[in-house]
């Protein structure tokens, strides 16, 4: 039986201190302790990108990260992307406008990666977009509309 410990996190701007076991994965802590189910437990082996979150501004896979390993970190999940008043981020609007969401399962990961890309490269080429999404699998859309949606956010 493992003793639990408190980790200190800032999740979507909010300070939280969940009690976690040493072997708890970040994805499970987000979904089950913090009820933030936008981040998906998808393949569980680090290949599909459905569990992507931004930790200290960098996209990582929460299914491959222990919660204790990110103690003290600033985390952004999909729930933190829309503005506090509920209005959508331009990337989210673009996804809707372009029909880039079908089942929606890959969408949180895709949007977070898009946010990361546009923060570093405000006007990415199609190739650059596809390169940045290499760690995000989609079973529905064939990627085309996702790429177009992100491209439309470029300046």
């Amino acid at each position: 039986m493992m003793t639990k410990r408190r980790v200190t996190l800032t999740v979507n701007g909010e300070h939280v201190e969940p009690l976690v076991e040493a072997n708890a994965l970040l994805v499970n802590v987000l979904r089950e302790e913090l009820q933030l189910t936008g981040t998906k437990y998808c393949c569980g082996t680090g290949q599909c990108g459905g569990c992507t979150v931004l930790v200290n501004g960098e996209p990582i896979l929460s299914c491959l990260t222990l919660a204790v390993a990110v103690d003290g970190a600033d985390i952004l999940t999909i729930e933190g992307v829309a503005k506090p008043d509920g209005s959508l981020d331009p990337i989210q609007e673009a996804f809707l406008d372009h029909g880039a969401v079908q089942c929606g399962f890959c969408t949180p990961g895709m949007i977070l990666m898009a946010k990361d890309l546009l923060a570093h490269d405000p006007s990415p080429s199609e190739e650059r977009i596809r390169e940045h999404l290499r760690g995000n699998l989609c079973r529905c859309t064939g990627y085309h509309r996702i790429v177009k949606a992100i491209g439309s956010c470029g300046q």
């Binding site: 680090g46 990582i60 491959l64 390993a69 103690d71 990361d116």
Partner: protein, 299 residues
């Protein structure tokens, strides 16, 4: 995809030392019971699949002294917890050893590259570790700290002993990787063949670094991955090249020699025959391109 047994990893103790002294004390206490991790991007899947069940996990990510890329007395030194993302975007690596950046850029995908580290890539010692062939071609050495605090340097081609067995003993920690900064005229190339363009364990990989004097090869280093139990230097090809004019015949000989030197297996990703074929084809192209680079950029 690999099956996972449980939703969590099996481990009872997680420790996160804040500096090297702290680390050394922890390793002295736990020795072989401790598994050292940084990004843990391969460790966690291994633990979840039950392939390794360490009692203690020691996370190196807080130790600032282990993450760096710098030039030191004509060498380039890289801290063990330097991520693939940092290697891929480092101006020092881009100017000194761009083919190492090429390899780092092809590990996993953007998310894993923010966590996967060069030290982890080598210590994990998969035969397909992508940073291994370029580091072997660069003549790299690793520095290892023992639980008693002793430090030793091991040339990378002596670091890999057999399948997933390295020079790391119980309680040892790989702390840094160094290699001489290649001379300006040296041309290095790395190619990885995988089943897709990302998240792909190499089917075969080849790294070549040549230093040319006109059309004659002055020094050659050749390394291959995923075609033997360990990432390997191919010394016999280097001997064949060094001091000779590189023409079509010699390149063909090198390509044939590679087939004889490697010992690929057949697995889910490819057959031994295919690996042999593709590795020798890639080597041929690498040498031709490295020679052409040298001619194009002059000096």
């Amino acid at each position: 995809m690999r099956k996972t047994k449980t939703k969590t990893v099996t481990s009872t103790t997680y420790l996160r030392p804040t500096d090297l002294n702290d680390l050394q004390q922890i390793m002295a206490e736990h020795q072989g019971r401790a598994a050292v991790v940084a990004g843990a991007t391969d460790m966690i899947p291994q633990m979840r699949a039950g392939r390794t069940l360490p009692a203690v996990l020691v996370d190196l990510c807080e130790i600032a002294e282990l993450s760096f890329i710098r030039e030191e007395h004509g060498s380039i030194a890289i801290g063990a917890t330097t991520t693939m993302a940092k290697l891929a975007s480092s101006p020092i690596i881009a100017s000194g050893s761009p083919f190492l950046a090429t390899a780092a850029r092809q590990v996993g995908h953007p998310q894993t590259r923010n966590r996967a580290t060069i030290g982890g890539n080598l210590a994990n010692a998969s035969p397909s570790a992508d940073t291994a062939p370029p580091l072997l071609a660069l003549g790299a050495a690793v520095q290892i700290m023992s639980p008693d605090g002793a430090i030793r340097d091991v040339p990378l081609h002596q670091f890999f002993h057999s399948y997933r067995v390295t020079d790391l003993g119980e309680g040892d920690v790989l702390t840094r990787i160094t290699f001489p900064r290649p001379p300006d005229g040296a041309a290095g190339r790395f190619t990885k063949i995988g089943l897709r363009s990302a998240s792909s364990i190499s089917v075969a990989s080849v790294a070549v670094m040549l230093e040319m004097e006109e059309t004659t090869c002055r020094t050659a280093r050749v390394a291959a991955g995923s075609v033997a139990p360990i990432p390997m230097r191919v010394f016999r090809i280097e001997e064949l090249l060094e001091g000779h004019e590189i023409g079509e015949t010699l390149v063909e000989e090198c390509s044939e020699l590679l087939r004889a030197e490697i010992s690929p297996i057949s697995d889910v990703r490819g057959s031994d025959k295919y690996r042999s074929y593709v590795a020798s084809a890639v080597l041929k192209r690498q040498i031709e391109m490295a020679v052409a680079d040298r001619r194009t950029f002059g000096a």
